[in-house]
């Protein structure tokens, strides 16, 4: 099988790393060769963050370049726009409609673009937009936004609910597990 590429993009602190680890665990159980590339250190501090998950028969490079991603999971609108050029032609983007202002917008040096979702759709990309923060808060914690997004994503994959939940159990700390599972199920149901 040709190598498939998934990008998880968002703002440092949103839990993109955990999401990529859960996806990695699901794919490993699916019998694929998997590489997950993470970013640690300075860039994590509220900056634009990106992690890569690649899978197939044999994966070489752990990174994804422009025009190579089959799927982008975006935790934030501006980040979706920023990383759009990485999407392959005909690729899909699942996006959380949350807006987090970057520092140049906060200080007034730049403007947050309007109507990002509509503009993304006009590029011809396959866009699924959801308010995952609302789902996460409904489940009990805004912090579960990452797992809520996975719930949305999971509805269109070859892997069943059990496989995803096993991966969530492996990666999410015990005390946050119930809320995360709830967020996952709520989001998956909405998507079906």
């Amino acid at each position: 099988m040709e190598t498939k590429a998934i990008m998880i993009v968002g703002v440092g602190g949103q839990g993109t790393l955990l999401a990529s680890r859960i996806i990695g665990a699901v794919l490993l159980e699916g019998g694929y060769d998997v590489k997950v590339s993470e970013v640690h250190g300075m860039s994590q501090r509220g900056g634009s963050v990106v992690t890569y998950v690649k899978y197939g028969d044999k994966v070489y490079s752990p990174v994804i370049e422009k025009g190579e991603a089959d799927l982008i999971l975006s935790f934030e609108e501006l980040e979706a726009a920023r990383w759009l050029p990485y999407l392959k032609k005909g690729g899909r983007m699942v996006l959380n409609t949350q807006r987090i202002n970057p520092m140049p917008v906060i200080t007034g040096a730049a403007e947050y673009p309007e109507e990002i979702v509509e503009k993304l759709k006009k590029t011809g990309a396959d866009i699924t937009a959801v308010d995952a923060l609302k789902i996460a808060e409904e489940a009990g914690s805004a912090k579960a936004v990452n797992v809520a997004l996975l719930g949305v994503l999971s509805a269109n994959t070859e892997f069943g609910e059990e496989v995803w939940e096993r991966a969530i159990e492996k990666c999410v700390p015990e005390k946050a597990l119930e809320i995360n599972k709830k967020a996952f199920r709520l989001a998956r149901e909405i998507q079906k």
Partner: protein
């Protein structure tokens, strides 16, 4: 069963399986997780610690090796500069128990102040260096490094990079070998490096390099993969993975797992079998220079850049002339640089330093972000500890501005190498003001305990350096502690100390807001009737506050209720939710 592991975790697994008994490191991205994962094993089998700096860590590992056990330390590329002094001489003494030093380079400078290529240190120190390209190799090469170390009587360098250290791929776990410690035998010709003994040792080191070169000609680390021979590629580490993805079977490969010393016959032989030879290596042309020295013609840095990271698409474009099409959003997208977290105790201090118009001699840590907009309150950042010694230099050069200059340094960085600079300030007397930003943790690398916070790597109680007493003991008479959340107090203290005619230290003490032990207050709220839109609260650069339609709003998912913005808000529009 296969597990997905970070390269760093796979190195830790390799240490465990190799029977390593002592691990000592100082945190540094991208190397930190090796020692963190190593500390998850039973400490009676493999003892781990955070040392105050890389030099101490390396010397600890050297000591453990001399005492007869397999030992290890890990560091980032710039950490190797700090550890270079003991390492260059350990090259002469050799080892008793195997000694491996991992050094993680940061191509692309994701979290570093420079992009140095550590292979140059291997050449300088005349040490063998091996370089894995994925997690499975991280484990395998780590174990092999111990065999090489003991066979050739040498420390071995394990070179990593951000993409290898921080990528997860499949690893199969194996059992640990339990090696009994080797007996220690007194041998001053081996371990006392004074000139009479060091001279013959240098000759031995040169012989060892020749033996290692012979090993490199035919070893499991250097592999040939022959496919189409129109293009030949000599490569190593992560660059191998990029090349394989870009060129697949359209090229043949010589993958060098051992990057110092390099083989000669193997390279000449491979070069003869291919039509066009590319040398694909990030950063410096180390392999390329070696290949050219052998009289072999090749294509290298005249095509590929000396800076930053490579990738499959970069190589495709450079070698095959292929470009990947991509979508375009069609609009300028504001950048999102990293910022100090909401509730960061450093924020108020930097706002005050900017307000007072200070020249700020900065250092390495989260607080380096004080250089970014809107705070922009930092003038220099060079290396660990340079804030304190650099400030002394500035004040010696132009004492007329000493009441405008401060140094800022974190608690862990201060212990690492700030204290020696402070001794210099006291000893050689400059009227310098040093602010120690004590957030009780090594923050930027992801929360490691350190000698000043009273906990060891396992989270167990440890002796804590008393920073106030330490500063006094080196000769600083004026030492005071402030709470950075009280901005008025902080401003008064900074003003007062700047105007003193003697050196002083201000310890700004408040734990990192991300620590689990820190209890957050409820998120603050803006009373829109009272908000006059003056935007004073935006001047502190908190990611939780922004202005919408001229009024300020606070994002409740980010705000931790630190209250700095409340102090900034003259009309009193910002209040805590429970008071609303």
């Amino acid at each position: 069963m296969s597990k997905l592991m970070l390269g760093n975790r796979a190195v830790a697994r390799g240490l465990y399986e190799a029977g390593v008994r002592v691990v000592s490191s100082y945190p540094g991205t991208p190397s930190t997780e090796i020692t963190e994962y190593a500390s998850a094993y039973d400490k009676n089998e493999m003892y781990c610690e955070w040392a105050p700096n890389e030099k101490v860590a390396c010397e600890t590992a050297i000591g453990a090796s001399i005492a007869g056990v397999r030992s290890f330390c890990a560091m980032k590329h710039v950490g190797l500069n700090v550890a270079a002094d003991p390492l260059y001489t350990a090259s002469y003494t050799g080892v008793n128990g195997g000694l491996v030093v991992a050094v993680a380079d940061d191509q692309g400078m994701h979290s570093s102040q420079n992009e140095q290529d550590s292979r140059n240190h291997a050449i300088g120190a005349k040490l063998p260096m091996i370089e894995p390209s994925d997690s499975a190799e991280c484990k395998e090469y780590t174990k092999l490094a111990y065999e090489l170390s003991e066979k050739f009587d040498t420390p071995v360098l394990l070179r990593l990079s951000t993409r290898v250290s921080h990528s997860q791929s499949r690893v199969d776990e194996e059992e640990r070998v339990n090696l009994p410690p080797k007996p220690y035998e007194k041998n001053i010709r081996k371990y006392v490096m004074m000139p009479a003994f060091a001279k013959p040792k240098h000759t031995e080191v040169e012989k060892r390099t020749l033996a290692l070169m012979e090993y490199a000609e035919n070893c499991p680390l250097n592999k040939r993969e022959m496919h189409d021979t129109k293009i030949g590629v000599i490569t190593a580490g992560i660059a191998y993975q990029y090349a394989k993805e870009a060129l697949g079977d359209k090229a043949s490969y010589l993958k060098l797992g051992m990057v110092n010393p390099l083989p000669e016959r193997l390279i000449k032989d491979f070069a003869q079998k291919v039509e066009k030879l590319y040398i694909i290596e990030e950063l410096d042309p180390v392999i390329e220079n070696h290949v050219r020295k052998l009289g072999v013609s090749c294509i290298g840095k005249e095509v590929f850049t000396l800076t930053g990271e490579y990738s499959q698409s970069y190589l495709k474009e450079k070698i095959l002339g292929e470009k990947t099409e991509s979508l375009d959003f069609g609009e300028n997208i504001p950048v999102r640089p990293p910022v100090m977290c909401a509730g960061c105790p450093h924020r108020g201090i930097f706002y005050t330093l900017k307000k007072l118009g200070c020249i700020v001699s900065g250092d390495i840590g989260c607080y380096t972000l004080g250089a970014s907009a809107p705070l922009q309150a930092m003038d220099t950042t060079v290396c660990m500890g340079a804030s304190v010694s650099g400030l002394h230099g500035m004040n010696k050069a132009a004492p007329e501005y000493e009441n405008k200059r401060v140094a800022v340094i974190g608690d862990s960085t201060f212990i690492h190498s700030g204290i020696t600079g402070l001794i210099n300030i006291a000893y050689n007397r400059s009227n310098s003001t040093v602010i120690v930003l004590d957030n009780s943790i090594t923050g930027m690398t992801g929360h490691q305990n350190n000698p000043a916070n009273g906990k060891d790597i396992y989270g167990d109680p440890a002796s804590a350096v008393n920073l106030e007493e330490l500063c006094k003991a080196v000769g600083i008479n004026r030492v005071r502690v402030i709470d950075p959340y009280c901005m008025a107090e902080a401003e008064a203290a900074i003003k007062e100390e700047l105007n003193r005619e003697e050196p002083s230290v201000i310890i700004s003490r408040r734990p990192c807001a991300l620590l689990k032990s820190v209890k957050h207050k409820p998120a603050l709220k803006v009373d829109t009737d009272k908000c006059v839109g003056c935007k004073m609260c935006l001047k502190i650069g908190c990611p939780a506050i922004s202005a919408i339609d001229g009024k300020c709003v606070i994002d409740h998912t980010q705000c931790v209720g630190c209250g700095i913005c409340e102090e900034m808000c003259k009309p009193g529009a910002i209040t805590s939710a429970d008071r609303c």
